[in-house]
Symmetry: C2
Subunit: 243 residues, 2 copies
Amino acid sequence: MNKLNFTAVRCNECPIRHRAVCARCDDDELSLLESMKTYKNYSAGEIIMWRGEPLEHVASLVHGVASLSKTLEDGRTQMVGLLLPSDFIGRPGRTQVEFDVTATTDVTLCRFERKPFEQLVEDTPHVAQRLMELALDELDAARDWMLLLGRKTAREKIATFIDMLARRKISADENGDHTLEMPMTRDQIANYLGLTLETVSRQFNALKKEGVITLSGRKEVEVIDLLALREATGDDADGGILS
Amino acid sequence: MNKLNFTAVRCNECPIRHRAVCARCDDDELSLLESMKTYKNYSAGEIIMWRGEPLEHVASLVHGVASLSKTLEDGRTQMVGLLLPSDFIGRPGRTQVEFDVTATTDVTLCRFERKPFEQLVEDTPHVAQRLMELALDELDAARDWMLLLGRKTAREKIATFIDMLARRKISADENGDHTLEMPMTRDQIANYLGLTLETVSRQFNALKKEGVITLSGRKEVEVIDLLALREATGDDADGGILS
DNA sequence: GCTGTTTCTTGATTCAGATCAAGGAACGCA
DNA sequence: TGCGTTCCTTGATCTGAATCAAGAAACAGC
């Protein structure tokens, strides 16, 4: 996987062609984007942008996982977003980066300079519309996360996290196996869920002991009992379509 | 205040004319909106929309305070947004209400039927742009709140809440007095901050005992020592312009 | 003003998760 | 194949906020 070269992919062959900011673009619009884009790679752990830095580029996440985080005066940090392939970084109209953006795994970005991109958004309703949809999806996700952070127990947080990964199914295959690869360390998961790494570890192992999941290696989680997992999230089942 | 009649205000005299979804509209666009809008009033405590309900109308909040909240299976609830005048309710493209919307105080909405409004958004870039800005502002606010919910202590949460009200200065006057009217009960504040009402009460009184604020009546808070209050929020002071 | 209701305060106790503290397993690299 | 490092687990203890439990103050309606 780490040998894939994303530095010269044509838009038509791009893995996020139909979900990213370009999703609704026709061929003409796409070739315009094609002429503006540049790829850039980051290794796991690298900082992509610092909070407060001037926002020079916006980008689509092509491959890998990145995170947005905020920090308090004394160093406590909270992840405020998890970026997966097709998610968008930076916003037209913003001149400053609002939070630290870190490459959680190795990451490839499809970048655009902010100024020309802003012009493009003005001229291209398809891009503006898609950007709006992406922002609203992020807002929904942020609000779900507020409920989690404010009211869920440690157990419910862990169950919700695993369920979220299962739903988004990071790993591409769809052939009935329920094995997930955690894209983060226990420490990073703790930062995401508003917990400590010890509590994360304890709750993972509690779910394992109960036969809801199995763990193997550091990152592999297999969901054995999806219903019990959903039950453990504490979420209200109604109001949503099963998936 | 409760005798103001908002049922037949002309857009040009509207108190939120320059901040709401119509902020960037020219006179022609405004008269189009004028022909589509209807006002509706709600009393404090009334439910404006239920989660899961079909989204028939979108609206601007003209007057009062409303809240968005989510509920877990067993009844625990978390407020995920506080809506102040000029904030927008509902989104084009969404067909379902995503959370319960409640009138915290008496509220007046300027409503539009969703379908025609969606068409208007398609045709009117000024509205689409403004809607985008409003969504991004909400996203920033949601992310600040995630940091609060995940990592702040009860004391820091209360200080942040008071500071937020002071910054947004709900009460209109600007003549040097630092008196704020809480738009919510202790219980509602607790729901917003991910605390219990007892803890909210204790922390308010702790800040009072230390001379940071004074309390009088149920809803009145006067900020005595703004610096100490800011200090107590735990926020990292850099990266933002003082205000 | 009086009265009932709602909202707020304060105290005692409990408990979930943080913190402190060792080990131990997994993985990268030579 | 072993060695060093990073990451994870598990146990003991502590603590901030929740919970349980009365009262007291504020406000609304008569």
